[in-house]
């Protein structure tokens, strides 16, 4: 026991002494939160639009006013003909043009139906889709409100949309769980694998092997400090999420920390596994970055929804631990999910963890070369 304690003390001491890495480890969650929370957003604010109004009646003016009033859009031009639309788009002055047909109000009054054309600059397809969506919401809202007062006979079905769990469609709510997954992967898996391969690279492992330290002493001793570090990181992110970004937290904190610890263990086990394959720090880092970080960011559903991926990538996403963790965290934070809803994902993470630990114990080389 003394043997193992000595090793753990040494590990903490070395990490504590490496101030630069420590700063990065604790600073990273904060910087990433701020980046993702403020800079990278899916919602639209102040997108430039123009209006081409062939009707110029009170309804079209009212709708134009509604669009201009919204936080999402800024009205930059009123056009006279189609020729100008193309020009404005080419010059990059506007991202969307709303066109009202001739005699708009009259047609609404007579037939209950009139046409609006929404033209968007689809060089950024995500943005274009969102803008169209926002525009039609604003127009629909207006029509409904007018309907109530003036009894205009609007026919046709107007869909009533309701967004569950994240009614404002705030992307930060979605990013926080993903960020937790990415940061834990990065800190736990990469730092562990680098820390173990450093012992190999600098020749320390040569002496450690010729000592009463057993493989599981070395592995657990390496993993413990990063477990502690990662939990601190989770707390940092949660505090930032709650007090800076007002992300709701509906479920149980206890369950959340239990699941987070499980995921940290999964990542640590992965890190140990990587280090059994890599012989120097650089290889370990490359494997961690390319093999863990990229799939975690791209395939876990963090940024891109899994449901819209090609089938083969959807299959691939099943073997990304972060995907399951993301389902768990989103459920706990946004839906108030409990153990009964999440036992399946939890079991999958558990299986990953046990599997990786088993593999790395087996692969741990008690000799050299």
């Amino acid at each position: 026991m003394n043997t193992f304690k000595g090793f753990v003390v040494k590990e903490f001491r070395q990490i504590y002494r490496d101030k630069r890495t420590l700063t990065v480890l604790f600073g990273m969650p904060v910087i990433m939160m701020i980046l993702f929370g403020f800079a990278i957003r899916n919602e639209i604010t102040n997108a430039t639009i123009a209006v081409l109004d062939f009707s110029k009646d009170e309804i079209t003016r009212a709708i134009t006013h509604q669009l201009a009033m919204s936080n999402s859009f800024t009205l930059v031009a009123s056009l006279e003909n189609y020729h100008e639309v193309e020009q404005l788009f080419r010059a990059g002055k506007v991202r969307e043009v709303v066109v009202f047909e001739h005699d708009f109000a009259g047609k609404i009054m007579r037939n209950g139906i009139a046409d609006i054309q929404v033209i968007t600059d689809a060089t950024d397809p995500n943005l274009a889709g969102l803008m169209q969506h926002y525009t039609s919401r604003i127009i629909e809202d207006y029509i409904i409100s007018v309907n109530k007062h003036q009894q205009i006979p609007v026919t046709g079905v107007i869909p009533e949309i309701r967004m569950m769990y994240n009614p404002e469609l705030r992307s930060v709510n979605l990013f926080v769980p993903g960020l937790i997954a990415v940061i834990l992967m990065l800190v736990s898996a990469m730092m562990t694998s680098i820390s173990i391969t450093r012992e190999k690279e600098l020749g320390n492992m040569e002496i450690l092997l010729v000592s009463p330290l057993k493989p599981h002493h070395i592995i657990i001793g390496k993993v413990l400090p990063f477990l502690a570090l990662s939990i601190v990181n989770v707390i940092t992110i949660l505090v930032l999420a709650k007090f800076v970004f007002n992300v709701p937290f509906k479920g149980s904190y206890l369950l959340f920390f239990a699941e987070a610890s499980l995921f940290i263990l999964t990542a640590l086990a992965l890190g140990v596994f990587i280090s059994s394959a890599a012989n120097n720090q650089q290889t370990a880092m490359m494997i961690s970055l390319a093999g863990l970080l990229l799939p975690t960011v791209l395939l876990s559903g963090f940024i891109f929804p899994i449901a819209s991926m090609p089938e083969i990538l959807q299959w691939l996403s099943h073997i990304i631990p972060a995907k399951w963790f993301l389902i768990i965290v989103r459920s706990i934070m946004l839906k108030g999910g409990d153990v009964f809803m999440l036992w399946k994902e939890t079991l999958i993470l558990l299986a990953f963890t046990v599997g990786f630990i088993g593999l790395s114990m087996k692969k741990f080389n008690v000799r050299m070369g």
């Binding site: 043997t3 040494k10 070395q14 600098l202 040569e206 009463p212």
Partner: protein, 307 residues
Amino acid sequence: MNPIIQINNLNKSFGQVHALKSISLEVNESELFGIIGPDGAGKTTLFRTLATLYTPDSGNVSVLGYDVVRDYKKIRPLLGYMPGRFSLYQDLTVEENIRFFASVFGTTLEENYKLVEPVYRQIEPFKNRLAGDLSGGMKQKLALSCALIHKPRLLILDEPTTGVDAVSRVEFWDMLAILVKDVTIIVATPYMDEARRCNRVAFIQEGEILQVDTPEAIVKSFKKPLFGVSHKNRFKLIRALKNYPYSESVHTFGDSIHYTDQRDLPDLDGLKTYLHDMGLENVEIGTLIPGIEDSFMALVLKEANHA
């Protein structure tokens, strides 16, 4: 009494490289045993095999009565191993390093202080310095202290004096001379002059052991007359000596050139005349008592002629 180390017909290859060729060796209790050989001779491979870090391709190796393959777990706690490369934690202080190794081996610095004292006392004034900031000689003293801290029965020291200044080298060997009263030591070195400090030495070259004996016996095995030749133009002298038809070996040792002749009774006057003809005047030639370096050089030369 059983030998501490017993090696029978040990072979080890790495791909195409035959690193150790049918090595057989015995090291006895309380011996200070030296393995002398140039870089790439196979010293580190041999030492890692003894430290149970490499497994032999063929042959038997037993250390302290245990087989290095089967019983490696029993051997490891009994070894004090110092790898050729400095393998302590450079980001920990001197004291933290030694306390770490003490705790890993289930002991404390205080408990075994007496044992490491001859070595550790010399670096204790710097105990709060980071190991990475120590000089080469002090690093090696620290590494030796760490290898000793758990009272091992066998010390395996792989090139402990490489990259260490001359004074520290002498100090290091002085310490080994004290330590060998309590522990068997096997030490590798590329410096032939250090062979003198061992009880017995083995000379290793290209994976083969050429000779195993006491330093005195090795010196005595050098039978030929040995001459020291000197001239202010050493480069020209060496070239001339090498081109002399009766020349057997020409080696530089410090200020003079050590020369042996192919004939049993060398004709010194003839040599002087030859050198004079080559434009080298006032060459000094004197007889020398051969040292251990001369014996090793002769061994290498003999081996080369065989091949």
